[in-house]
Amino acid sequence: MTNGLQLRHWSSPAEPRTRAVELLLSNAQGKSLSIAVRQLARDIEDTAFLIVRVDDVDGAEIHQAIDAFQRTACSTRLCLAGTHSTLERLGSNPFDSDRVGWMLDDIDVTTPWSEIVSEHIEAIRFCPDFVARAGRNMRLGLVLEATLLLARDLGLCALGSHDAPGGGVYGRLEFDYLPLAPARSMPSVARDRILHGSRSAHAITRDR
């Protein structure tokens, strides 16, 4: 049962369109992270990865959640998201696993590149406010474009937001994933399956 878990859905603008799901912990209705990810694992086989932001989660609980997720048969990748300091708090080799990775969250103009090039990072997510400001300010726009280029060169996945003119395209670069418009996000996986049963139904952001 996944009722009650608040989710945000993400989709790649590029073909073939792939999708991801984010578990929003503020609405996990008091469930432990382990229980929540275990419940979700049953229903997200057709998504590429599951994002869970863990900055406010205790280190031991994060490790329990990783264990719980790995015990499931789900082939989806678990992508934990947070700041560099949260990653450091988890220890030197926190993801001794084929199925778990780390996303550096809240990238903005102040994020040091030394954090982005850290070897455990496999994705970055830009702060929506920064993306919005970068759309209005050329200097910030150049920072965003340079950061996207760095992500490309490293082979990282870049998650963005719609809060920018031009639909998230910077020069010849664009975000790999964008959130589905909130109106189309559903409160539970079960409802999502009913409404968005096929992968193509998630082709939402814009044409390339």
Binding site: S12, T18, A20, A48, F49, R77, C79, G101, E119, H120, I121, E122, A123, L149, R152, D153, L154, G155, L156, C157, R172, L173, D176
Partner: protein, 236 residues
């Protein structure tokens, strides 16, 4: 060429020891099966289409060479969503001449040598994706060393020649070019790298990739050598 035997212990092709182990956000592996071939064709076609639209269209289906038993297709696949970031074809002359030999005769020193042609390098984001290029290059070079190839051969048009020059390849035609029908009929240079000299060249030249290649172990570059030896007809 006499048949080769694979050593049970694969020797490292570098003269320096590993100093660190590093994770990558993607995995490099051999493509296997029709699904992987589709992924390789997709990335190759879109990469070529950016520079040579007609070529991109021509490459939107697999080439006959892709299906040759001795041909290896390498791909780099993002861990997060398994999206393919890059691919390359390795085509040895163990069963038939190199593709480039249909265009021109290579100079005498290459007669009777074990040659392998690097072809169809395709990277998702064009000139970016440098880590992916480096990882594909490392995997390819290590395959060449393990299979006792003598020279890597590559053709490059003006824009891609920089990659081979930066890796300290020799310009076989000394500045001359040949028209390559299977690459848009554009003028291409031909580059060669002697496998047994590569480590020394990169080390003595303080090459920026040397630490990545030689001093760093990358568990995410995972080549199935049993498949490689089988493909190249090397008995164990």
């Amino acid at each position: 060429m006499k048949p080769l035997t694979a050593s049970p212990f694969r020797e490292r092709p570098y003269s320096t020891a590993i100093e660190l182990q590093e994770n990558l956000p993607f995995r490099v592996r051999l493509a296997k099966g029709p699904q992987d071939l589709c992924k390789v064709v997709d990335i190759r076609s879109s990469a070529f289409a950016r520079h040579l639209p007609s070529q991109g269209k021509a490459l939107s289906t697999p080439e006959a060479d892709d299906e040759f038993p001795e041909v290896l297709l390498l791909l780099a696949e993002r861990k997060l969503d398994k999206r393919v970031l890059g691919s390359m074809r390795l085509q040895p002359n163990v069963r038939r001449p190199l593709r480039v030999e249909s265009v021109t005769r290579l100079p005498k020193p290459y007669d009777g040598c074990r040659l392998i042609e690097f072809m169809r390098l395709g990277i998702e984001n064009g000139t970016s994706g440098q880590m992916v290029v480096a990882a594909l290059a490392k995997a390819s070079y290590e395959i060449c060393y393990a299979t006792k190839m003598d020279f890597i051969v590559a053709v490059g048009r003006r824009s891609t020649s920089a990659i081979y020059r930066s890796m300290l390849f020799d310009d076989v035609l000394h500045g001359e070019t040949v028209l390559v029908p299977h690459a848009g009929n554009l003028p291409h240079s031909i580059y060669c790298l002697p496998i047994l000299e590569a480590d020394r060249r990169w080390r003595e030249g303080n090459h920026s990739l040397y630490d990545f290649m030689a001093r760093t172990e990358h568990p995410d570059i995972h080549v199935d050598y049993r498949h490689v030896f089988e493909a190249f007809g090397i008995t164990s």
